[in-house]
């Protein structure tokens, strides 16, 4: 039987007119790299669940994408990361929300699936759980990118000027 894999790196922030060629090249390279991380698992006979985790970890590590170290900032000026993993064969699932320090949130989601009877853990408790699992943690500087910080300032200024928080521009609306 053959194997198949697909990945995405977001949709809502894309405007063709605003992506510079160099940035587009980095994005395409990042996508190709992440795809290969997942495909390598499948090529070696590994499980689909391990393959999607490997691919998502690569995307989380790449500041081009809105997850992990490329994550956007909330209205209080810090990241709140979310992730999920689900195994179709067993319907086992794990998710996390409100993480601020976990380098690879998808690994925390996988640990929720593996080590707990629950589906979702959130915020400080989820972070303590990830730490107890031995997952790598980072300080706030790791998750700071100038591009995302500038996008936050732009959006906060727009809202302060009377803009509707639910009607953000395509550039900052979602990742």
């Amino acid at each position: 039987m053959s194997f198949s894999i697909a990945i995405h790196g977001g949709a809502g922030t894309i405007l063709r007119s605003e992506i510079q060629p160099e940035e587009e090249a980095r994005i395409r390279a990042g996508l190709a790299h992440a795809l290969e991380q997942g495909r390598a698992v499948l090529r070696a006979g590994g499980a689909a669940l391990d393959a999607v985790q490997a691919a998502v970890m690569a995307l989380e590590d790449d500041p081009c994408f809105n997850a992990g170290r490329g994550a956007v900032f909330n209205d209080a000026g810090f990241v709140e990361l979310e992730a999920a993993a689900m195994d179709g064969a067993t319907r086992a699932a794990g998710t996390v929300t409100g993480l601020r320090r976990v380098r690879n949130p998808v690994c925390a989601a996988r640990e929720v699936m593996r080590r707990t009877p629950h589906v979702t853990l959130g915020f400080e408790a989820a972070e303590r759980f990830a730490e107890a699992c031995g997952l790598p943690l980072e300080d706030a500087a790791y998750f700071h990118t100038d591009k995302r910080w500038a996008a936050l300032q732009q959006e906060l200024a727009r809202i302060a000027a009377g803009g509707d928080a639910s009607q953000a521009s395509e550039q900052v609306k979602h990742g």
Partner: protein, 135 residues
């Protein structure tokens, strides 16, 4: 948001999604990614990972909706995904897209906005990397 779906050589499906959410989101906001069935879903029929306006994916349980259309209405993956992204997501005033793979290894990547960063491969065929609709 980023995500991945896969079918392995044993025919098992899986999905994973990870996100920073939305710029200037209210602190404490929970999006569709960690809501199973909204932004992430996998069963024995299909695996789905979504990106876009999270509240719309939550209100429509859209990742699970693709599976429901396939299992209960006998739709193909392509038809189910097209209906969910081009009709149901839009009806909920949402933009974004999904990636999905079914038990046969078929891959789809529909989206209703200008572009979606995406890539896919089957076995050792050359990888496909795309952003815009025409790719």
């Amino acid at each position: 948001t980023v995500g991945a779906v896969a079918r392995d050589a044993q025919g098992r499906l899986a999905a994973a999604t990870s996100t920073g959410g939305r710029t200037a989101k209210m602190a404490g906001r929970i999006g569709d990614t960690p809501v199973i069935g909204a932004g992430t879903w996998a069963d024995e029929t299909v695996a789905v990972s979504a990106t876009g306006h999270g509240e719309s994916f939550v209100r429509g349980a859209l990742a699970h909706e693709i599976s429901a259309r396939m299992r209960l209405a006998g739709q193909s993956l392509a038809d189910a995904a097209e209906a969910v992204v081009m009709q149901e997501l839009g009806a909920l005033a949402g933009t974004g897209g999904i990636i999905a793979v079914d038990r046969n290894g078929t891959i789809v990547t529909p989206f209703n906005c200008e572009g979606m960063y995406r890539a896919w491969a089957v076995d050792d065929a050359p990888p496909q990397v795309a952003i815009y609709h025409e790719e």
